[in-house]
Structures are given as structure tokens and as C-alpha cells.
Symmetry: C2
Subunit: 868 residues, 2 copies
Amino acid sequence: MRGLLGGKGANLAEMTQLQMPIPNGFTITTEACLTYLKERSEFSPDMKRQIEEALDDLQKKSGKTFGSTTSPLLVSVRSGAAISMPGMMDTILNLGLNDVTVQTVAKNSGNETFAYDCYRRLIQMFGDVVFEIDGAKFEKEIDKVKEATGKDNDAALDAQDWQGIIKEYKRIIKEEKGIEFPQEPKEQMYLAIEAVFSSWLNSRAKTYRRLNNIPDDLGTAVNIQEMVFGNLGDTSGTGVLFTRNPSTGEPGLFGEYLINAQGEDVVSGVRTPQPIRALENAMPGIYQQILGICDTLEHHYKDMQDIEFTIEAGKLFILQTRNGKRSPKASVKVAVDLVSEGIITKDEAVLRIEPNMIDQLLHPVFDSLALASATPLATGLPASPGAASGKICFTAEQAKKRSEAGEKVLLLRSETSPEDIEGMVVAEAVVTSRGGMTSHAAVVARGMGVCCVVGCEALKIDEHAWTVTIGDKVFTKDDDLSIDGTTGEIYAGVLPTQMATEETSLQEVLGWADKVAALKVKGNGETKRDILAALEFGAAGIGLARTEHMFFAEDRVLAMRKMILANNEEERKEPLRQLKVAQKGDFKEMFTAAGEKDITIRLLDPPLHEFLPHTEDEMAELSGATGMPLVLVEKRIEELQEMNPMMGHRGVRLAITFPDVCVMQTEAIIEAAVEVSQAKNIQIKPEIMIPLIGTAEELAFVKGYVQAAAERVFKEKGMTLEYHVGTMIEIPRACLIADEIAKEAEFFSFGTNDLTQMTFGYSRDDVWKFLPVYLKDKLLPADPFRTLDIKGVGQLMKVATEKGLAANPDLVVGVCGEVGGDPASIAYCVELGLDYVSCSPYRVPVARLAAAQATLKQKKAEAQASAR
Amino acid sequence: MRGLLGGKGANLAEMTQLQMPIPNGFTITTEACLTYLKERSEFSPDMKRQIEEALDDLQKKSGKTFGSTTSPLLVSVRSGAAISMPGMMDTILNLGLNDVTVQTVAKNSGNETFAYDCYRRLIQMFGDVVFEIDGAKFEKEIDKVKEATGKDNDAALDAQDWQGIIKEYKRIIKEEKGIEFPQEPKEQMYLAIEAVFSSWLNSRAKTYRRLNNIPDDLGTAVNIQEMVFGNLGDTSGTGVLFTRNPSTGEPGLFGEYLINAQGEDVVSGVRTPQPIRALENAMPGIYQQILGICDTLEHHYKDMQDIEFTIEAGKLFILQTRNGKRSPKASVKVAVDLVSEGIITKDEAVLRIEPNMIDQLLHPVFDSLALASATPLATGLPASPGAASGKICFTAEQAKKRSEAGEKVLLLRSETSPEDIEGMVVAEAVVTSRGGMTSHAAVVARGMGVCCVVGCEALKIDEHAWTVTIGDKVFTKDDDLSIDGTTGEIYAGVLPTQMATEETSLQEVLGWADKVAALKVKGNGETKRDILAALEFGAAGIGLARTEHMFFAEDRVLAMRKMILANNEEERKEPLRQLKVAQKGDFKEMFTAAGEKDITIRLLDPPLHEFLPHTEDEMAELSGATGMPLVLVEKRIEELQEMNPMMGHRGVRLAITFPDVCVMQTEAIIEAAVEVSQAKNIQIKPEIMIPLIGTAEELAFVKGYVQAAAERVFKEKGMTLEYHVGTMIEIPRACLIADEIAKEAEFFSFGTNDLTQMTFGYSRDDVWKFLPVYLKDKLLPADPFRTLDIKGVGQLMKVATEKGLAANPDLVVGVCGEVGGDPASIAYCVELGLDYVSCSPYRVPVARLAAAQATLKQKKAEAQASAR
């Protein structure tokens, strides 16, 4: 009944039904609020009558009465909309106190200071939320007294001090509002209720509703509850607890309490609270009662609870219960334990874990104690999670050399380019001062599972002097830094790390997930390390193995450059022969690592100039190595420059203008597959993927070369094997004519990175110039490179999937772009009925879980729809 | 009956029905061909019988007999498929000649040389096409005789020479085929018929049919006709004529003839033919007969005819008639005249003119005589038609200065950029050594109607030394060149030009076209010159006025640069104020020029770095002018560089990150519109167009600023006016969510240039690296930047138009991209039901005609569909 009672009221009602010992009270419904607002802010006689009846009932149950000089009723008044909302009036405590009842409370509690502190709090909260008087005015009075008495914190103030402050508070109200602070408890109550109702219409709440698409006609409920106090002596106390350890997920109560204290004393740290287990000895009856309550609540809410309680004179009150926040590790452990305890099903466990949390489980984190005492030097964007320390390196070459010499190194660059790959591979962490979450450094590091922080503008990197200045500190190559890829923070020196993993529980949940998921999860990777990592993380295969990263290796880039500089097919022959030897070796390693699991190998994709040198020295070196005059080398490099390389001479366009390159790659793939199949006596079925297809004719053209090359190899080797030829779908036009393309393709793999670039006309390298403004001003709901733009890019994917399958029902359709590891995007892929997603190895577990959740939610929605 | 008789046979049959005097003959149908091929290359008895009957009939009609020693029948055998096809056997003449009949012909004609020449031709053609003997073998024998006799051309050879050659020809046939050349005319005929039939299945014909989607089961017909000779004495002759002047379109016969000659004598130029009018005196009866025939044929075919005729011994024979090829000028003139003569309707006239021809009518051409004697130095791509000469300038500045000094100048650059605009405006022609038909130079020059040749790689331009080397010749700034933008040819020196225009007829046809066309044609332009040109060419308004070209002007670029370098809104104020004054002036000029015709003004579109200096000197200058330290200027310029500027921070993205710029532009537009409206007492309704929209939120956001600015101006001026806010649709995503965008927009204008770039993922600046290969290998049917890609880009336009109109039925939809002037693309726009296309001023007449043709064709197709 959240709609009628609000979130808080519904929760209290539920606990009441569970016969939890909660403070007596009643809830005024949202309907009442709406009626009040409609009737020009007047309580109708009927409404007033109902409130009076509820109040009578409360007075009877509690044995206390408003304004009584022996046993005065004190209540809290809290708002409670169906959806919690900043800007709404929140809470007034201690309502019912006045100049008379305060004395009774002082006497009953034996604690004058407590009584007057309660009273001044009432006046202060009342002044603030009912009379809308600037809170600073009240705080100033406290400061004055502290100054005058030389007491340095609120806790040191005594009854006399508070009495003086109360006098000043009353004066403020009189001055600001021209009326006395109301002494009549019922008047206090009605004013408080009206304030809650009216706050529904204040401008902050209205704005919040507009921005979050919350309807204006919901209204808010009001909860009125008897006050309970934990500071009425040694049989009183207060505490907070989790029903399980929120950090590790281990079963057993976890929490703290204080005897003779109020809730805020536990939090403020003035007194050191006791661990909850100590209550077993101190108040064994209460402790047993709590154990029982925890069990009931866990079974009722089917989850670990976060509970606030107060013991008033030996009597336990539960003030609040809610599902407890927990660490990723605990999240998994709790879900698995709840299954084995029979509280939830496996499907529920799968749905219970936030997929993105898993990411953190798979990387080391800094020791939390060490972290608590360290101050970050700077904060960048958290591009790839993990925690690592090492010596600063300013170039990839430096990183490689020092790493080979046994040092732990970090790679610090303004931004990275494909040439930095070798340095990134050996670095503990990669840091850049420029670029966003989808910059080269970010994408590659995430792909490799290397900790990475990007766009940390506070770093002033001098790549010539080999220094980095952060604030007023200068660091050199001999300094260590510690990088937190999960928060984006950078620290000086070496911080100790620990692993966050809780392997067995996680494997268990992921196993359940795989049984449920309607699509397979593959990993992207081309090195042995990546492939093994992906498979270890449960990938069903390799959905994207790029073939260009390996060309940047020192021993190959020269052959690559010679190939590019060649003037004709004849001159390309020798460098291509060298590259083929190298590529075949790579492919054999890949096939050996993956065994019979699918590997989808993408033919050469990036524009050729990416492989060419940029500096004069390198050009001179290349001129020497090739015997080509320097001017010609420079000219050729200039010719290969492009205005918009992303939309230039790359992908299949290279295969069409230089078919010999695609032939070389095909031969290397098929030869490697045949040789490894023979050596290991297994059946490898390579999948050859042509990138950047925009017309069916392109695919047919290149497929012709691929098939001819494969046939040649089969003939030479005296053996054939099954292989498939498919295409990336990453150009909008390819989606629009997917029916034509599907007739030539055995599989489609959506390259959502490029597809998003072209569909929006956003260059991923340049988008940081305006995307932050777009996100801030809500012109876009999310970064479309991280979360699929379902409306636009998703629409094209839908068209392509439908047209593709209509034309070729055997077509396999998947995704291998960046969003393949994003849960919201995976949900859409499930909706489209895709066969697989492929993401970076470290995202595979996240994706497996997200796929299962999406499938479960889809099934539920379908069941609901068919029930209707 | 083309299907049954083939094109040639049907034509002959038609002329027969018109009682034209054509040589007697008969046609063997395509059905006969198919039967023959099906029955394993055997003539069926029935077929043979019919051929014999037809031959008998021919012998009767002609009074000649095969093999007769007094009056031998000679015939031609020609193939004639429904669709003419290279690779098919073509023609055998003089069939019926043999060792005996050749003597009779020699005697009857009194010309032995003629007779033996005919005979050797028969043997040569027969050897070539029936026996498939390499033609070079025959030609070699003629060469041998010429060498031996010292005669230097075929015409000099006499009967004896031919007799010797005939002997050798017969020997060749015997050697190659092992048989004698057949002496029996009927055997000759059957062999010839079989050769025609069989050639239907030869590999060249098959390939041609496959490439052109011509079915294989059509077959070919065979036409057999009596030979007629124009060289049988002074009452014989031959000639070719057009029924009107094919160069000017003027009425009256136009052509040439020769007495006592064969057709090829007219063409070969050995004898000088007489103008056709001379025939009126020479053979008045024949001339009158020809006049009557021309009239009949023109009325029958409803077009100017190109006729071949022969007079054999005082008897006229029409050998062929076909619609005559003609110059653009004649094309228009003939169409208009045919209407006034009542031969065709106005709609037919509109359909009769090839729209692209008109382009040539609107530009000067080189004098044809001068051209005939000039040799081009080099040939580039014909980017913008016209002909012009001038002194060579190597920079825009040079061009401007020398032009101001009264010189006629050409601008020669490796490639142009927006900074060259001022040089392009003053140049007679623009030439680049790099770039394609849609490079900056090409697009801008076409837009301005300036003659332009691009991608002329033969030019080695040294921009430092101010020389251009073409082949082995070096030209300096003091040399003149002549540029033909219609052919792409470049000549040394100054060639005289002439105008090709035939104004009144063209205006008449275009007037008819406008009455018919289902969409309006607007022009693109932002200068007074462009706007006036567009309106003069009949544009219904200005569909695209860019607002950035004017920022490159010398007196403005500094303010623009200051604005860009500013760190915040405050610093941008002063440069923006200066720019506003300038822009308002521009807009007033534009509104004044266009009057009440619509102008659609596009807000700032290109990336900001295009406006910044590139050289050290300019940066230093800018640093001086702004007081900003040089290092900071350099840094800011570097910051603004983009990897893929086409997909970077431009278009609406600028308006969102710098709303003050869009506000400035709006104020300038509205103030200018109000002031010109008041001054001229007219109603200007500006259309403000936001470029590069990808989300509805962007448009709503910017529209908010535009409307607020407009309201402010209205208040200040105490006057309001109607204005419209719309958007470019040039991002694929915009098409996909056009329903959302249409709710915010009053009009859509497809920017097909960008839309094509994004849909294909082709950077227009870089596409020349692979597009030529794509076109060569037929991976694309056409350059999609010149002719709309209907399948892909067109599909997006269809989606956008449908979604847009469904969401907002009042939406006006048009095109302002490059394809707006392309006839095939305009036809698709008509199909989509768009409201207008907008193209460069010089293309407006082309587009008007194309729009009318598309509408007429659509109506016809609809009428046919509803008739079914």
C-alpha cells in the first residue's frame, strides 16, 4: 500500500502486521494530503475527526497523554511519499514538549540536560520546517553560548545553557513570525501536519518531480509515532545492526550499540559503541528477542536487513528496517547463503546482484586502512577498475625496458595511441591526462583488465623532461604512485592492496546465471593472455580477435611499414610474406589457447597511416631500412593522412584496394587452424569477420578472395575444415540493407562503437568536447558509447536483425562493441533475441549475470502480459 | 514489334508502312533464331522454306537474281536484336558477289575498281565474321600491295590491285579453314544467317547481357536487304542529313551529300561533300522527295531525324533514320519548335530535354574552331562547367590583389580550404591538383558557378616558388592558362570563348516545367551575387544560406578568432558584438536581394578550428591583436584540433556549448528582417535552420534560445514578424527519431552530404582513396555524393519523411544537399513527396526541369498502375 501510505507508512504497517515491537503511531494517508491541498489548505471536519480518533487511540495504547504533567506523550512527525524526494519536509522530533512537559520529562528521566536539549531541538526543527526560518539563525545562538562558556562542543552544554538558548529561540520565532512558539501539543501537531502537506508543493519538490518524471498527483503521507528514548538510564540503549556482515556477507549479527544513549550518539563517535555481540551478555533477553526479530524480518523481506533499534527502560523498539547496503563481496555471499537457507530461489539470487558490482570483485583494491589515512593527489576518470602501484614511466619503451628489468611500472601519458600497446601490456596501471572513458587508453586497458585512470587534468606531464607535476609536487621516473582505477584517485608512494574476490560463491551464482541466460557471452581478445582470461571468466568463445594490434610489435612494424610504402602488389609480396609468418604464429597461439571454442577473427581494420612513423627520426630510420628516399617516405606518409580517418580508408575498404593483404590474413588463419587441429586432434572452426561493410557487393567481393585462399590452403594441406565468413555491422547503411548483406554472411556482429559514431555523427576521439555538456543538460540520458542508445542505434540494430534473419534464417547475430559488457545494453540485446554478446575479458562475468537477469525479467514480463 | 523483329527490323518495317523508299528486303525473326539455337543449330525445313519464299519475293521485287550474269542480286545481312549489343555479329555487305557476278557488276557499273573492291570487302567481312579469321591478316595483304606499288591509301588501289588481294584473301581462307570461299550466293547467305544466330551465344554478348541484366532468351533477328549503290555514275549519290540544324536547332535540312559516291566517302573526307541544299539544284525532284520524307518522318517519330540516304541511278533510297543527336542548345530549340509546330505537347517537350544538358547552356564554352587546333596540356576532373582564361595565381591573396588591379586571374592550388574563398570569388576559374568531384574546391566553385577543374594530378604546383610544371613545361604567375570546366581540359594561353545560351526557348520550356513540377526548386547561396543568380535562374527561394563563409572575410576573421579564443562568455561579448554588426549587414543584404522569397538561414556549422590560423606568422599576428600570449594561442589552437572534425564539435553542438553565438546570430537575423521589412514595406519571413540535430532535446534547447532572442528583438523594435525554426536532417539518428524532432521543428531540410557521409561512414575528404576502385569494380553504382543512394540514404530519408509528417502534418520537408541538383535524386524526392529541393544557383534550371520530368513520369506510372 505504498501509494496510499507512502513508503515509510507502508513499511511501518508491514512491521506491525509482523508483530514487531515498533513505537505506537498512525499514518495519515496521501489521499488526505491531496484532499487538504484541493480544499485550499483546510482540514475537513471528517479528516480532523479521524486524526483525533487516531490520536486518542495512540494515547490509550501508550498510556501517555499530550500535555500530561505526569506522563506526557511525545511524538515524531515524518513525511512519507511513495517515492522519497529531496526538498520535502522530513522530520520533527519531540513534538508534545512545552514549557511544562519539559519539566516532567526532566524529572521522569532524571536527566535535565536531556530534557531541555530535546525541547530546544523541537523548537529549532519547528522553526526551520514549519515557520521556514533560516536554520543558521538558531545555530548562531548555540555558538554564542559556547563562546561565552568556553565549551567547545554541544555535548558539553548543560541544562542551564539549553534553557538560555530556548529563550533566545522563542525570541527568534516571535521576531520572525510575530507569534509565540505554540505551547499546545495539538496545535504543534496540526501545524506540523500542514507543513508536511504543503511541502509537497514547494518548488524544490516540484522541480525534482519534473526532472524525474514523478506525477504531481501522488501526494505525501504523514507518519506520527510515539517518541522512544534510549537514554533513560542503564536499562535503556540504542543501536544499529545488520543481520549479516555487510562487508563479507558472513552470517551472524553485525553492528553496534550504546547503553543509555540516543541514536545520534552511536554515529557521532563521542562515545565508543559496543559490538552487538556484547549485548548477549549485557541484556540476554533483549538479545534473544533481536535474534528472533532478525530471522523474521529476513524471511519476510527475503534479504539481509539493516535495522535501527532503541531500548527504552528494558523494552525493545524497532525503529526502522530496510534491505542493507553491502559490499560487492557480501552481495554475492548473502545471495548464495540465502539460497542454501531456502529463503530465496536461484533465480532470485541471480536477480539480487548488481552486475556492475562484480567488476570490482575481480580486481585488487587498496587496503581500506591504508586508504583511510592517505590523501589523493588528484582524481581522474575511473576508466578500468583495480588498484596498483609502480614507478612512473613516460614512454611505452621505457615501461617495457624497466618492466623487463623487474620493476613494477606505471605508464603515464597525455593520451595513448596504438603504438603504446607494448607499454600498456607490461604496466601495472595506465594513466592519461586527457581523454574520456572511451578514449584509446580506457578501451584498451579495460580490454586487458589493466587498472586505468584517464583524463586526469591535474597531471602536468612533461614528456621531454620526464616529470609530472601534480599541484605543487613534482614526480620523476624514480617515484612511485598508486592508482585506484575504481575511484579514479591517484596517491603518492606505494599503498598495499588486497583481493576483493570471493571466488566460489561468485562461480556458483554465475553458474546459475548461465543456465538461465538466453544469450551467450563471449570475450574480446587476441593475445594468449586475453583469451585465457576470457575463458577463465566463463566466456563461451572469443567474439572479437583483432588482427592489427600485433602489427605494432617492434619486430613486425617494419614489415608492415614496408608493405604500406610499397608501390604495387609486386613490392608488397616480400613484406606480406614476413607478416604472414608472424600472423600465422599468432593465430596458432590463439587457436591453441581457445581449443574448440569459437574464435571470430576480424581482418585488418584501422587506416594504414596508424602504422607509420610520426617523427623525423623514425622516418629517417624507415627510409634507411627500406632504401626508399626520405622525401618519398615523407610524401607517402603525407598522402596517407586523412581528414577524418574514422570514416576513411579502413576496414573492408583496405581489403578491396589491397586484396593481397586479406588473402595473406586468410591463408595465415586457415593454415594455423589446420595445423593446430592436426596437432591437437581437435576441430577448429575459425570465423573470419570482414569489418566496416556498407554494401553487399563489398562482402561478396572480399568473400571471393577469402574462399579462394581457403580452398588453396585446403588443397595444399590435403585437409579441409569448417569455417565461417561473416561481417561486422557497424555502418548505418549496413543495417538498412541487412537483408542483402545477410545473403552473403554467415554471421553478423554489431560493432556498436562505430555504429554509434556514425549514427550520431560523434567522433569518439572528439566527443569529450561537448558530451559532458550534453550529459549535464540532459540532452542525452547517458554516454551512448557506454550504454547503448536504444532509440537510435538500437533501432538500427533491430532493423538489421529483423531484415538479416528474414533473408537468412541461419544467420548468427551478436554484438562485439563496447556496450557488449553493459547490463542495460545487454538487456536490449536479449530483447532483440541476439545469439551472443562479446566484451572485454574482465567484463565477461558481469555480462553473464546481466544476460541472465535480462532473460528472467523478460520471462516475467511475458508471463504478466499473457496473464492479462 | 521490336521483340520479334529486333530494333533494326522493326524500324525498317515501320518505314515500309510509311511507304518510305527503302531497299527491298526481309527480316528473319528472333523466334527463328531461338528455334535454330534450340534445335542444335539446324534450319528446320519450315524455316528454310520461309526464307526461300522471302528470297524469291525479294528477287521478284528487285528484278535481280542471286548469281545472275546480267542482273545479279547483291544483299546486305545485318543482325538486329531488340537491344543493340556489342559483341554480336554486325554486318556483311555485298553478299551475292562471286568470281562471276563481280564481272557483271564491273560491267554494269562501268567501274571495275568499285566491283573488285566490293568483292574483296565481301570476302574480308565474311572471313572475319563467319569464319572468325583475325581481321589483321586481311589488312596485312592490303598493306603489302600498297608497299609494293607505292600507293599510300586504299582509294588509290585499282582493279588489278584488288584482284591480287582477292587471290590472297581466298588463300587465307583456304589456309585457315581448309575450305574455299563459297561461290554460291545462297550458301553465302545461309552461312551468314547462321553466323548471326550463333553470335547471340558468343561470350562477349553473353557477358554484356549479364552485366546489363538483359535476358538470354530474346534472340536476334536477321535483316537481309538488297544492296544499293550511290557510286553508279552521276545520277547516283549518297548523303547524310538532319531534318534540323543539330547544332543550333534551327529548322531546315542540314547535311551533306556526294554525287557518284558511297556512304563512307562522305565520312572519310577524301572528297569534299556538298551541302544538302545544293541538291535542290542538282536533283530537284529528289530534293523535293527528301523534304516530304523528312516531314513525314518527323511527324511520325515526333522528333528531329538523322537520315542516311543513297541515290542509285536516279532513285532515292532511305537507308536509315533515327532521332538525331544534337547540342544542348539545339535540344531546347527543337523541343520548343516541335511544340509550336503542333508535333509534340508541352509535357513531351519537357520530357524531351536531358536536364544535365542545360548545365552546359548556362556557361561559356571555348570557341569550337579555336578548340579544334589546341592541344590540352593536361586533363583533370570537370568539376564545374564553363570556359575561362587568366593569369595564374598561387594564393587567394594574390588572386584578390591582381583581380582588384584589373587582371583576369585563375586560382591554382593543391587543394582549397575555406580560407581560399575570397580568391575563388574573384577567379575566372579554379584548378586543383588534388581532390575529387566533391572536394571543397568543386563544391564551392559549383555553388558560385565558377569554372573549375580538380584532381588534375599532372600539375606539379610549387606554392613556394610560384611555379606550376605540366609535363616538361614550367608556367609562372605571368603565364595565361585556359580552363575548360566542362571537359576538365587545361590549355596554354588564352582561348576565345562564346556563350552557349539560347535564352528564350529555355525560359519557355522551364516555364512549362514549373507548371508541372510537384516540388519547388530553391537555390543555395548567401551572397547577394548567389541569391540574385538563383532567383534569376528561377529559384522559388533560397533553401540554404550558410552563415560561416562570411566569417572568413579579412575584416571579420579577427573578431571570429577573438571570439573563439575567449575563455568565457564575458570575454566573448565584445567580439560577438562586432560579429553581430557584420552579420546583420549581411542578412540585410540577403533579405534585400531576396525580397519576399523565402530564405532559410543555417546557423554556424563548421568546427571552430577552421577559422583559426595555421601558420606561425598568423598565430603571432593573432597573439598581437588579442594580447593573448603566443603559447596560449598555440595551445588553444591545438586544443581545438580534432581527430575527425566532420563528426566533432560543430553544428548544433556549438550552439549548445556556446549559446551566446546562436543568440547573436538570431538577433542579427531578426533585426535585419524587421529593418528590411520596414524599409521596403514587405513581409519577410526568415527561416532559421539548426544544423546537425541528432536528438529532439538539442533542437528544443536551442529553439528556446532562438525564440527568446527573437522575442527580445520584437519588443525592442515594437514589431513582430512571422519566422520559422527548423532543422537540417543530416545525422542518421535524426532520421530514426524524426517523429520526436518533428514535434519541435517547422521544417526539415535533408543535408544529403553529411547524411551520406554518416550513413556510409565515408569521409567526403578522404573517399577518393577508395571510391574510384569501388566505381570501377561496380561495388557502388554511382558516387553517392553526386547521386543519392536510394537504397541506404534514401531509405533513411523515407523513414524520416514518414515519421516526421505523421508527428507533424504541417511539416515542410526539403533537401539542401549536393544531390538537390541531380536529376535522378530529384526523381526520388518527388517520389517521397518532398516540398522542395535546393541546389547551387547554376543547377536551378536543371533541377526545375528534372522535377517536372519526375512528376510527369510518376503521373504516367500511376495512370498505368490504375489502368491495370
